[in-house]
Symmetry: C2
Subunit: 216 residues, 2 copies
């Protein structure tokens, strides 16, 4: 799995602004970033009246837009996908994934605190808490950064999360659930898949394989 860090904190504490600065900082360091944002209340992303909006409105369950420099997908789901599944399916090609708003997910996290909103950490006893970004002085067993110290926080992420992280070479999602793989199982699956497709036309030197299988 790609390394993941969550920015958590109460609504209005400044998560989006901090995230924006961290993204920009990593982009300037040549580290590619993907973002997953949770929105419990749903979101409006498409523009009313546009073709894709009209197609979605007409009843298409998935709408994709493709252009030379980017593409977009909007997809209906029966139940919210866990962020791990979205990441395994769509964000395997970045160096780092930053998430916003998945308080319940088991990702290392940085909590944002703003005095005007709350002075109490929601992640106080959370072993996954990496650091706190706060606009006031607070005692914490974890490093505390000024709320606008995006450089320091980015450096912490680079040191504690990116360094030493070996990107896995296999991602496996079974019936919508991301499966954790031990290194030797990962090696076994990778070599089995590369070996299996080797003799197919044009597949002998394959570097990246994406395989979807449905039981008959």
């Amino acid at each position: 799995m790609v390394p993941i860090v969550s920015i958590v904190g109460r609504s209005g504490s400044g998560k989006t602004t901090l995230l924006e600065k961290i993204i920009r900082e990593f982009a300037s360091r040549g580290i590619t970033v993907g973002v997953v944002k949770h929105d419990a209340h749903g979101f409006e992303i498409d523009h009313e009246g546009k073709d894709s909006w009209r197609h979605k409105k007409a009843g298409a369950v998935t709408v994709a837009l493709s252009s030379p420099d980017k593409f977009a997908i909007i997809k209906d789901v029966d139940a919210e996908w866990p962020p791990e599944r979205i990441i395994s399916s769509f964000l395997t090609d970045v160096d780092l994934v930053l998430t916003e708003g998945f308080k319940g997910s088991p990702f290392p996290r940085i909590e944002v605190l703003r005095k005007a909103v709350s002075t109490r950490l929601v992640s106080e006893d959370n072993a996954l808490l990496l650091a706190v970004a706060s606009d006031f002085e607070i005692e914490s067993p974890r490093p505390v950064y000024a709320l606008d110290d995006f450089k320091g926080i980015s450096q912490l992420i680079e040191d504690k999360v990116l360094k030493g992280h070996t990107n896995s070479t296999v991602s496996l999602v079974v019936d919508g659930r991301t499966v954790d793989l031990k290194p030797f199982i990962e090696d076994l699956i990778r070599e089995a898949v590369l070996g299996m497709i080797k003799s197919l036309k044009g597949c002998s030197g394959a570097d990246e394989v994406e395989l979807k299988v449905k039981r008959k």
Copy 2:
């Protein structure tokens, strides 16, 4: 692969409106539809100032939004993905994919003609041409429908494309290229993958497996 039908025709001929009506018709028949639209000039899907827009602007290469009823992905690409790749990666769970604007792709197609725009077919000699939808009388070796006869056109798609189509149980993308599989190879890969993961925790009765592998 999921069955695919393209709606083609010159700009301003009425592709989007016809597509909209066909989507609605299929939705009312209980057939799930996905749409892929090509936009050579790029598109603006996100709203300026929104969080996802800010994150993308800051330099995130992929932005995902997740909510209880839908999710969205916006992703930068170095070169346009062929529609087959988008479909193999994101639209394997619908009954039918309709595309708009991929004139060069090898999908069965319906061409839309509007007198005010052009009276000449662009797909005249194209063996993939299923039918013509036109607002004037035109001679064609293929069935000609009135431009607003979405019911007739939907029925044609159902009869000629959906009936008898067996959804493949394996989709394979190698280095960004969708690989065509003969039925016995498909069977072999499916059974090999299901067999390989069977002994992993919680995977014995797997119905859908998504596997991504990178060469080390």
